[in-house]
């Protein structure tokens, strides 16, 4: 496990944008129950994101809906993250500016949850320095 990168609560601020629209700052929730990163379809349209997928998505109540996949650039300051990500737009009953940060995003990191503190600890998923204790012990 690499060094600790960031400690945060479940709600974080992200910036999302496509190549056609202006960047927008949104509230995101770390959600290990979501396999993908999801948002209200209205936000995806507002940002002018480009469609690049469509698939059936299962919701918490077991029902299914067709979600549109978009390619977007996401920025998370605390993590130093700035890259293309796939986000799924879902037709929500009421407008929402919240983004669910699902496992498709989290797989880049090792994330430990501290229950009493309600904090997430992000570590780099790439291996840190490896110490060879046997060589160091050497007799």
């Amino acid at each position: 496990m690499g060094p600790e990168l960031w400690v945060t609560g479940p709600n974080i601020e992200i910036k999302l944008f496509g190549v056609r629209g202006k960047p927008r700052t949104l509230d995101a929730i770390i959600d290990t129950g979501a396999s993908a990163t999801c948002l209200d379809q209205r936000i995806a349209q507002e940002l002018g994101l480009t469609e690049s997928n469509r698939k059936i998505m299962q919701l918490a109540d077991g029902s299914e809906t067709i979600a549109t996949g978009y390619r977007a650039i996401m920025e998370i300051k605390g993590l130093g993250f700035h890259d293309w990500v796939e986000v799924f737009g879902i037709n929500m009953a009421t407008p929402s500016t919240r983004v669910l940060l699902g496992r498709a995003f989290l797989r880049r990191y090792i994330v430990n949850y501290n229950g009493p503190d309600e904090t997430f600890h992000f570590f780099n998923a790439s291996a840190g320095p490896v110490f060879n204790y046997l060589e160091e012990y050497d007799g």
Binding site: T50, N53, K55, L59
Partner: protein, 103 residues
């Protein structure tokens, strides 16, 4: 196999409902074309390549990428805002714990 055309019809109809809700039919029709091409190309992509993010544009398989971000970057540079499909060849069912949706 007998039921496949009917299943396709149901999926198409559901997709069209979403498209009407979104009000962007031209873009989505073009994406549908890429999805249709992808379904036809998938067995060959799987046979010739390892798993990864497949990029399909102009109804042709373009390239397989290790990461979504690489495919998105490539699509942006080479196809701009043209509708392309980026889909993982080992696609798994997706879950999103939203409960209140509009459909």
């Amino acid at each position: 196999m007998v039921y496949e055309p009917h299943a396709l019809f149901i999926v198409r109809r559901a997709v069209n409902q979403v498209v009407h809700l979104r009000g962007d039919p031209a873009m989505s029709d073009a994406l549908d074309d890429q999805i249709e091409a992808y379904q036809a190309l998938l067995p060959e992509i799987r046979r010739k390549h390892q798993s990864g993010w497949a990029l399909v544009a102009k109804r042709r398989f373009i390239k397989l990428f290790g990461e979504f971000s690489e495919a998105a970057q490539y699509a942006q540079v080479h196809f701009g805002n043209e509708p392309v499909l980026i889909r993982h060849t080992d696609e798994k069912p997706e879950t999103a714990p939203f409960v209140h949706i509009g459909i």
